[in-house]
Every structure is written in C-alpha cells, then in structure tokens.
C-alpha cells in the first residue's frame, strides 16, 4: 500500500474538542485545493473527515475533551487527490455494527456514517491493533479513475 502514496506531508495530534474541527478543516481544505481537488470535492473530503472526527469525539471518547486524535494527510501518488487517516485510542467498535440509518427515515442525527460512505472514493473503518479505531478517507480529483492500477 505504501507505494501508492507520498510521505504523509502533515501529521497532526489534536485533543478531542469540537472547537478544533474548524482549524483542522481549514488545513485540509487548503491542502486539498493545492492537490487539485475542486471546491466541491474539497468540501466533501473535509465533511467526511469532520463526520469521522465528530464520531470519535462524541461516541469514541464520550465527550472527554482530553482524548487524543491523530490525523495524517498525504497526497495520492497516482493522479491528483488526498488521503486522510484518522486514528484514536478511544472505544474499539465493530465497524459492521456502525451502519447508520436509512436516509428515507427523516429524523435528526444518524447521518454521519452515510455521509462518509457517500462523500469519498475510499472509506475504511477498522479497529487498530493498539486499541481504538482507524478511519481512512481518500478523495480523488477525478473520482474512481479507470487508470488506478497503472
């Protein structure tokens, strides 16, 4: 897998606090535009990241403002795009249990899982061997390129 990516250009460690979502979005949005994503693609990537971080803060760390979250951001090697990896040492959950709700069922909340799956070209949610969870998000400038294997 490593040969598919540039070095992670940026590693972040943040505390599990809602007020840090905006600065992290600003950083990734700027990187995304630099890596060739257009305005909406950049928006969709930062929304997926925001939803993942919100879940870690709210459900993973149960609102504890001193949990640690690690975020690494790197350019994709093949074509323009960005990868964001989010890791925590919070609650470990079975990804299959986190399905989110049916969108036809209009009610407040329960949108995050659906948004993450819809917004990016690659979405992975897995337990870490060290405990906690890892979310991988990838967004390409031209979604799902046929030339991904070359």
């Amino acid at each position: 897998m490593t040969e598919r990516f540039h070095d992670p250009a940026i590693h972040l460690q943040i505390l599990s606090r809602p007020e840090l979502l905006a600065p992290v979005r600003a950083l990734v949005n700027t990187m995304a535009m630099h890596e060739g994503l257009d305005d909406l693609a950049a928006c969709h990537l930062i929304l997926a990241m925001d939803e993942a971080l919100t879940n870690v803060i709210r459900h993973g760390y149960d609102g504890d403002p001193n949990g640690r979250i690690w975020i690494s951001v790197r350019a994709l090697l093949e074509g323009a795009g960005l990868q964001v990896v989010i890791e925590d040492r919070a609650r470990t959950v079975d990804p299959d249990a986190l399905q989110g709700r049916d969108l036809e069922d209009i009610r407040p909340g329960g949108l995050g899982m659906h948004l993450m799956r819809t917004l990016v070209d690659r979405f992975e949610h897995a337990p870490r061997t060290e405990g906690g969870m890892r979310v991988v998000l990838e967004k390409r400038a031209t979604p799902h390129p046929a030339a991904a294997a070359t």
Binding site: E19, R25, L47, L103, G109, G112
Partner: protein, 115 residues
C-alpha cells in the same frame, strides 16, 4: 479564559416572520448555538421562520440534524420553516444527505418571505 465557540446570528423580523441569519460554519461546536436561536424564535410563534444561510460556508451533520429538528418542531407549532441563500457547498451537502426535497428552499430572503 478560553473564549467559547461563537456563532453570530442576525435576527430580523418582517410582517410577523422571523429571519435568522447565522454567519460562519455550522458544525458540532456551533450547531448548539443555532439550535438555541431556532428554539427561542419558534417559541415566539412567528408567522414563518426563515433561515437565511447565505453567511454559512459549511455545515456538517450536526447542523443538518439541527435543521431537521427545527422542521419537526416548526410543524408541531404549525409555523412554516423556510431556507434561503444556500451557498454552493451547503446546497451540495443538503443534496448528498437527500434533505433538499425535505425542506422548502428559496433563492433569497425576499422570495422566502413571499413564498
């Protein structure tokens, strides 16, 4: 000492309708402030509640949830809830959440007040 999250929300009235115009990203840190402003406005039983989102460059699912809750509470009180001034990004987010058909959406404030 750390200043908390703030969300500037301009409140206007027009012929008995209330217009709320938040300015800034509506995310997990800020949506509770929008929720509070909406709840307080609905309690005053306006003829309509207009959310002017032209100053909102970004919204996450906590903002969407706040608006869905607002819609449900508005319906209970029989107050029409109208959105207007959606930025390109927020429009796209509403569409992806398939909420664009659930809300009544107008181009701008004037049309929302008339419609």
């Amino acid at each position: 000492m750390q200043p908390g999250p703030t969300l500037e929300i301009a409140i206007d009235t027009s012929n008995g309708a209330t217009i709320l115009a938040p300015k800034g990203d509506v995310d997990m840190a800020r949506s509770p402030l929008m929720r509070k402003a909406i709840t307080e406005s609905l309690q005053k039983k306006p003829t309509a509640l207009v959310l002017d989102l032209s100053g909102v460059p970004y919204m996450d699912s906590s903002g969407l949830a706040t608006m869905v809750e607002a819609l449900q509470n508005a319906r209970k009180g029989q107050t029409p809830l109208k959105l207007c001034g959606l930025t390109v990004r927020v429009k796209s987010i509403l569409e992806i959440a398939r909420l664009n058909t659930v809300f009544t959406i107008f181009e701008n404030r004037e049309q929302a007040l008339q419609g």
